[in-house]
């Protein structure tokens, strides 16, 4: 009986076996890296309707975050300021700037500007902004050095694993609000951070929850 397959076919099972393993590892790696929020979300920097520069306002001019984002310490939601807040200064400064045309229109018409949201959490996750600030977690921990960004971008993955990392080990992100503001972008953990964190945790009775219902209520 004639042979159905030529001799080189004998090598195919080995090629397939190794190819299968290699493809598996490769596919896993691709999903692992490119599917991660570290890749898909970090660095998200949409173009905003008005070229507002945080570097200029919060950095060079040294305005506190809370001047505009006034509700961050008292509300679940961190607010975007109304354009009337902008006009507090810009009714006197750069009153003719073309870049500010939208802001002036909005302040006059009471129609808010549609800023593009950068830091998005899923609907099914409950997040309270004020709780985190009261615990002493600074803006920097989640938002990065906004004072150096002309256009704000996402610096952290905001994935569930990332949330849990800090909930499990909050020590390096807790500030003693008696000596530093929560908005201070230059703060770095002092040498005795471990001690401070330990004291803060027991004083404020901090107990970051890790159960499902804490965030998925």
């Amino acid at each position: 009986m004639a042979q159905i397959f030529p001799k080189y076919v004998n090598a195919i099972p080995f090629v397939l076996a190794f190819g299968f393993i290699g493809t598996g590892v490769f596919a896993f790696g691709v999903v692992w890296y490119f599917g991660s929020p570290k890749y898909t979300d970090v660095g998200y920097r949409p173009k905003q309707p008005v070229p507002f520069s945080h570097r200029l306002h919060a950095g060079e001019l040294g305005m506190d975050c809370r001047y505009c984002h006034a509700s961050i310490e008292v509300s679940q939601e961190a607010n975007i300021p109304p354009t009337q807040t902008c006009m507090g200064c810009h009714s006197m400064v750069l009153t003719d700037s073309e870049k500010l045309q939208l802001v002036r229109d909005s302040a006059k018409s009471d129609e808010p500007i549609e800023w593009v949201r950068i830091h998005k959490l899923p609907q099914y996750s409950y997040f309270d902004h004020s709780v985190h600030l009261r615990a002493g977690v600074g803006c920097y921990s989640c938002h990065g050095k906004v004072t150096e960004m002309d256009v704000v971008e996402q610096k952290q993955p905001l994935s569930m694993g990332w949330c849990l990392d800090c909930h499990r080990q909050p020590e390096n992100h807790l500030r003693d609000l008696a000596s530093v503001t929560v908005t201070d972008m230059t703060w770095t953990p002092p040498d005795n951070q471990a001690e401070i964190a330990k004291r803060l945790i027991s004083e404020k009775r901090l107990n970051p929850p890790e159960d499902c219902s804490a965030c998925h209520q």
Binding site: I4, P13, G35, S159, M160, W162, L164
Partner: protein, 460 residues
């Protein structure tokens, strides 16, 4: 000599009709080798019906994924409904295939050779149907991978103390080993088909599937070893898989579930239902393909005996549950069992008892045990009864547990029923494809049990 004679001195033949090596090859191979036009009409009709049912199920599942599990009859308190019932039902069905192929192999029960191939196929298809239900019953099939311990960006990890996770491992191991076992057994037969193939493409495809089998002594020796090892691996699975499935219930504290009898009770029930399904399929396939010489009355009778035995084991378990709930003095247990027999689900309970405990008793009589119509009807009754057993366990306990204020009644919707019927469609579609394209009887193994295989016949 009759193939069902109970002689202690002479073994009745396993294969009748004076078969030789070549007639066996011819009879079994020709079923899968005939041209498309000559496929039996019954096959086309059955395939049309079952694949339509499977397609209908596909649409219903699509709607389920779109809309959510609200389209089912699930309510508070019955959060587990037909999806779980069907899962346990189908996993159970699979067990007979593994018992026939692995345990009967280790016990050198030669009569298994005529039925092991399609019993194993049935196992695989049943596990496919079963595996579908846990995937869809949470309503969010796109996160079904959460069932597996895969490292992920959410830092979530399955709970290793939960029997639901053990179940994932049990069923996926079971599926893997069943597939391997089935495929290894198929290799020599695929090579037979390859050698008989006329067309080039058929030669190539079967050649690839046969993995270069030439039938040399060395290959046979390796094959036998591999088969034995796989049988050894599959044997504990017959007991462990349904044990773990029973833990899904028994580890919970719901009255009627939290009992230590569940593992053996579930395993006996699984083998019972599986043999019933093998019987249903064997009777039909034997009739359509005229395989009376291969699946003889002796095979059928042996299976009926196993059904009689396992049916009584299951009956014992039902009785034992009642006894223990009385003897244990736990009022919640007592109430759930009294409710099962007399409460709103009494109709389901008594359907279960009459199908599972009473109907197989007819097999005490040899006349009934060897009558095709009787065994066909009883096997269908057992299938029905075993489905109701899972329904009774799952739904009655949930509907009426500790808190009478939240008792409820579970009413299935058209989607519950449709998906269940559709799973039969899927099962039969796969089975019919198997009958049409792969040898349904293990050619090489059957040759080993005819007298020609042993020239010194009975002369030890």
């Amino acid at each position: 000599m009759s193939s069902t004679a109970d002689s202690t001195t002479v073994r009745p033949p396993l294969i009748s009709g004076n078969q030789t090596f070549s007639t066996i090859t011819q009879r079994i191979s020709e079923i899968v080798e005939i041209e498309v036009q000559k496929t039996p009409k019954a096959w086309f009709i059955a395939f049309g019906i079952s694949s339509s049912l499977a397609g209908g199920m596909g649409l219903m599942i699509a709607y389920l994924l779109w809309e959510g599990t609200g389209i089912w009859g699930l309510n508070q308190p019955a959060g587990w409904g037909w999806a779980i019932v069907n899962f346990v039902f189908w996993v159970g069905i699979g067990h007979a295939g593994t018992l026939i192929s692995a345990i009967l192999f280790l016990f050198r029960q030669k009569w298994r050779t005529s039925i092991n191939r399609f019993a194993e196929a049935m196992t695989i298809f049943a596990v496919i149907c079963a595996g579908m239900f846990p995937g869809i019953h949470v309503g969010r099939a796109w996160v079904a991978y959460w069932m597996f311990p895969l490292p992920n960006q959410m830092d979530i990890w399955p709970n290793f103390r939960s029997p639901l996770l053990w179940d994932v491992f049990a069923v996926s191991t079971y599926f893997t080993v069943s597939c391997l076992f089935w495929y290894v057994g198929l290799i020599p037969d695929l090579a037979t088909l390859r050698d008989r193939a006329k067309s080039g493409i058929r030669k190539v495809l079967l050649g690839i599937a046969a993995l270069g089998w030439r039938g040399s002594n060395r290959q046979w020796s390796n094959y036998e070893k591999a088969y034995l090892i796989l049988a050894g691996l599959a044997t504990p699975l017959v007991l462990s898989v349904h044990t773990v499935v029973s833990f899904d219930f028994a580890v919970g504290i719901v009255p009627g579930w939290h009992t230590t009898i569940f593992p053996p009770y579930f395993v006996a029930g699984a083998i019972f239902s599986g043999f019933a399904m093998v019987m249903t399929l064997a009777v039909i396939a034997r009739w359509i393909y005229k395989l009376e010489d291969f699946i003889t009355m002796r095979h059928l009778e042996n299976m009926n005996k196993i059904m009689l035995l396992t049916g009584m084991l299951v009956g014992y378990a039902y009785a034992c549950e009642f006894f223990i709930s009385w003897y244990g003095g736990n009022p919640y247990e007592q109430s759930i069992f009294i409710n099962r027999a007399t409460g709103p689900y009494a109709w389901a309970y008594w359907t279960m008892v009459s199908c599972n405990v009473l109907s197989p008793q007819i097999f005490w009589f040899k006349k009934c045990r060897t009558s095709i119509p009787v065994m066909f009807v009883v096997s269908i009754l057992i299938n029905i009864g075993m489905w109701f057993e899972r329904f009774v366990i799952t739904v009655t306990s949930l509907s009426q547990d500790y808190l009478p204020s939240s008792w409820g009644y579970y009413i299935p919707t058209v989607y519950d029923v449709g998906i269940f019927i559709g799973s039969f469609g899927l099962f039969l579609t796969l089975f019919l494809l198997f009958l049409r394209f792969l040898p349904m009887i293990a050619i090489a193994e059957v040759k080993g049990v005819i007298p020609e295989a042993d020239p010194h016949h009975y002369d030890h």
